[in-house]
Symmetry: C2
């Protein structure tokens, strides 16, 4: 979210790479009065009617940069942080059957951590709501990205109890009761626990998801959550309406999603001449 | 996109309000080596295995804040910049007919600036591509938010020549040739002029749009453009497929969109008991 820069540097005389990530931190509200009072260099950029723009050079104690260092960094660390080209894939149902599904099946993504939550072997004290029904139930937990200190970046995840639904592509009208439970009970549990009403929640699925066990994201509407862009997110309310209109909607329709050029699935689409 | 803060201050002794907007500017790549070489206060925050985190206090010449001042500011300016609660509306077709459409018709939003572009009375030198067909043609221009200095935040707008299509809600299969032209020719024009391939473009409509003359947004996929979230954006490729499947899709389906609590349309939905 904040300005960042990746830099490949070699620490002197060592011949070993490090990754340095620089981020400007958000303003702290309590320091704003200081910032407005302190004398500092200000350069007028533009003046038009009632509007003007300045560039200010704040003193060191009022500006802050967060630096994260990975050292020593392997090639894998470096690749992870280098900017990668991202492309959109428009996946037809045939592409899904011929390219994506065989790829998912060939990977042995472990989702033991999901089963641990569903079976209360982990994070049991974090559960915000559960509907224990094995076919139409789910567990609602705070996402690990959310520290629960403030509601601005509220982020919860609903994990369904059924284990055979990999993604949006597997959904049919049969799953409507489950999806309606997630939508309705998820909203109710969040307003009850956190006081955030359903109209201020963005409730959606990812396609492609990052793990192939059906789950639904609940994020604060005011929070520009990663993965909430139109090219990856599908509103649960729309998914429900699509399935109610046509049970086979997600086994017919082309779906768009982004892939980084270094992802194995991207290479599969490339080999098939689909990029 | 960058950290910002709104502050309500009274300039000394004047009793007049000003709006001051502070933004930390992005890192400039050419200044990074200076930043890494300069001695500065660094505070170690965390050290775990190969990872560590520092807080750095950079010298004034290497940090910069952009300040925008509106002075004197009326109550309207202040309201515009104050953080406002945003709520999602789930608008059925009946809601559209009974609440949204009458509201749109009651407002006399001027879209003369759109007509000026279409008639080459303004911005004629900025046109990137035109298909002059009166019913299936359009004009592609850089959005005013894009300064065209870098491709990272590429942003263009396609304005259709037809004048009676207010939004997504008016689209039927009749408009498919127009929409397909926008998608196909828009991508071709952008790769030709700017070298950005179609797979790296997010091509979408807003609902609600900010003006009621049909237009399509083209933004760089890597750019987290305002309004590209799932609750406001509709991929043109999806719109085309929906209309091909059912000409009346957008005259049947509920659509979700965000409204600020201070917007007049929000009050209309509230009065109708729909929020």
């Amino acid at each position: 979210l904040y300005p960042f820069v990746f830099q490949r540097i070699g620490l002197s005389g060592e011949g070993t790479d490090a990754v340095v990530i620089l981020e400007k931190t958000p303003f702290q509200e309590e320091k704003i009065p200081d910032l407005l009072k302190k004398p500092m260099h200000a350069e007028l950029q533009m003046h038009n009617d009632i509007y003007c723009t300045f560039y200010l050079s704040p003193p060191p104690e009022l500006s802050e940069i967060k630096a994260t260092v990975v050292y020593p960094a392997t090639e894998k660390h470096i690749q992870k942080y280098l900017r990668q080209e991202v492309h959109l894939i428009r996946e037809t149902w045939e592409d899904y059957k011929n390219i994506t599904l065989p790829f998912i099946q060939s990977q042995s993504f472990s989702i033991q951590w999901v089963y641990n939550i569903l079976e209360k072997k982990a994070e049991a004290d974090r559960i915000v709501h559960e509907n224990p029904d094995p076919s139409n139930g789910f567990v609602l937990v705070p996402d690990l990205k959310w520290n629960q200190n403030q509601l601005d970046d509220l982020y919860l995840i609903a994990l369904v109890h059924r284990r055979e639904i990999k993604s949006l592509r597997d959904l049919t009208a049969e799953h409507l009761p489950l999806l309606r439970n997630v939508l309705q009970e998820g909203k109710e549990a969040i307003v009850k626990r956190f006081g955030v009403p359903g109209s201020q929640l963005r409730i959606y699925l990812h396609y492609q998801p990052s793990y192939y066990h059906l789950h639904v994201h609940f994020t604060a509407l005011g929070y520009d959550a990663p993965g909430s862009s139109v090219e990856r997110a599908h509103l649960l309310a729309d998914v429900i309406d699509n399935l109610a209109m046509d049970s086979m909607y997600y086994q017919k329709r082309a779906l768009t999603f982004p892939l980084r050029a270094d992802e194995p699935l991207f290479k599969k689409f490339q080999e098939a001449g689909k990029v």
